[in-house]
């Protein structure tokens, strides 16, 4: 039966009657408190003499706790989480924007490559066309000059031929005159011989 003096005081001020009644009631219920050696004999959680003080101090401590949570701690944790979420969202945004930029750069690069290829092909085919045209022109020029030379040569041949043929007539007349003189010893007129040659030449 050892109790703090303060506790003993409080039970006496409470009034002996109610206290005894409570003690007796709990003794029968628990049977432990009696042997437990407590001054009041009441099962401590059911000792109503402590209720007022417990309620007051619970109200003070929990009230203060609630105030600190709602005004200080929770806004702080909330802002930490919000900041983190914002940062993550911003980073994701940046990443997707960078990716879009990279994609655009790749597309531009490919477009330029295609353009360059097309330009290269155009230049090559143009050069090929030009070379072909030049070759054709050269060939026709050469052909024209060759044809000219051929026709000039042909004209000269024809000229020489007619001249030669004309010479052949004169030679034939002379020869015929000489032959006739030798054969018949007489003179034959030039006109007769010329007509005879002409007739034989036909």
């Amino acid at each position: 039966m050892i109790v703090t003096s303060a506790y003993a005081q409080s039970t006496t001020t409470e009034g002996a009657e109610t206290h005894d009644a409570a003690a007796g009631e709990v003794h029968t219920e628990t049977g432990v408190a009696h042997e437990g050696g407590h001054g009041s004999g009441v099962f401590p959680p059911f000792d109503s003499s402590t209720f007022a003080s417990q309620l007051l101090w619970l109200a003070i401590s929990f009230g203060l706790f609630y105030l600190l949570m709602s005004k200080v701690v929770m806004p702080r944790i909330g802002s930490i989480l919000e900041t983190r979420q914002d940062t993550i969202a911003r980073d994701l945004d940046d990443a997707s924007r960078s990716k879009a930029e990279a994609d655009a750069a790749i597309a531009a690069y490919e477009q330029e490559l295609a353009a360059a290829k097309a330009k290269g092909n155009a230049i090559a085919s143009e050069a090929r066309e030009a070379a072909k045209a030049k070759a054709t022109a050269d060939r026709t020029a050469v052909e024209v000059s060759l044809n000219n030379k051929i026709s000039a040569a042909e004209a000269r041949i024809a000229d020489i031929k007619t001249k030669a043929l004309a010479d052949v007539g004169a030679i034939a007349e002379e020869t015929a005159t000489a032959v006739v003189e030798q054969l018949i010893g007489g003179k034959v007129s030039k006109a007769e011989i010329a007509s005879a040659v002409k007739a034989s030449a036909k």
């Binding site: 303060a6 407590h38 959680p45 007022a52 706790f65 701690v73």
Partner: protein, 253 residues
Amino acid sequence: MAGDKVDPIHQFVVNKIVPIEIGGIDFSFTNASLFMVATLVVATAFLYLTTSTRSLVPGRMQSVSELSYDFIAKLLREGAGSHGMKFFPMVFSLFMFILTANMLGMVPYFYTITSQIIVTAALALFVIGTVLVYGFYKHGLGFLNVFVPSGVPVILLLIVVPIEIISFLSRPVSLSVRLFANMLAGHITLKVFAGFVASLGTLGALGIGGAVLPLIMTVALTGLEFLVAFLQAYVFAVLTCMYLNDAVHPGGH
């Protein structure tokens, strides 16, 4: 205090540290008051100090604070919907306060304030009071729909409504007694088994051998009690969310 006998009830005795009396009512600062204040200080200090760096990438301790915040936020959003989020500070405070009080109670020689029925009853009445005040303030008499489940035939309502009323009235009782009884019974059991170790240990060699069994039991029970300490805080928070859901959406069940 109780001589050589181990008294499992002694741990719940409220002792005055600073006697205070106002108007004939005893408001003394007791060991229970001391641990209420200790709960306030420990929980606040933990949450305040671990988040003081406001790191973008949280450390371990900051993670614990953030996880408990997220945990209760998710619990409340699932339990009472987004309209219930205005009660977030209340549920978070209740959960952290009870959890810290329960955990502090696990430290040897520390007082377990949640093993006092008056404390758990006050917390439970605070919850139910909030439900009632907010429910009637927000919905007026429409709050009474909470006793009338939708989609029930009129004849059945004669049976269902009284049941709903009884279940509503039993809420503060079950809410407070569950926490109180769990903490009380757990601590008594621990003390009893630990007492066996001491009692058997004095009986010589055979007793020491026999004391091993309750020792193992005590170790196992201590682990279990840590689980119960968390679980009861969690259950209190879950039920608070459920009851607040009634205040936010009466007749929505």
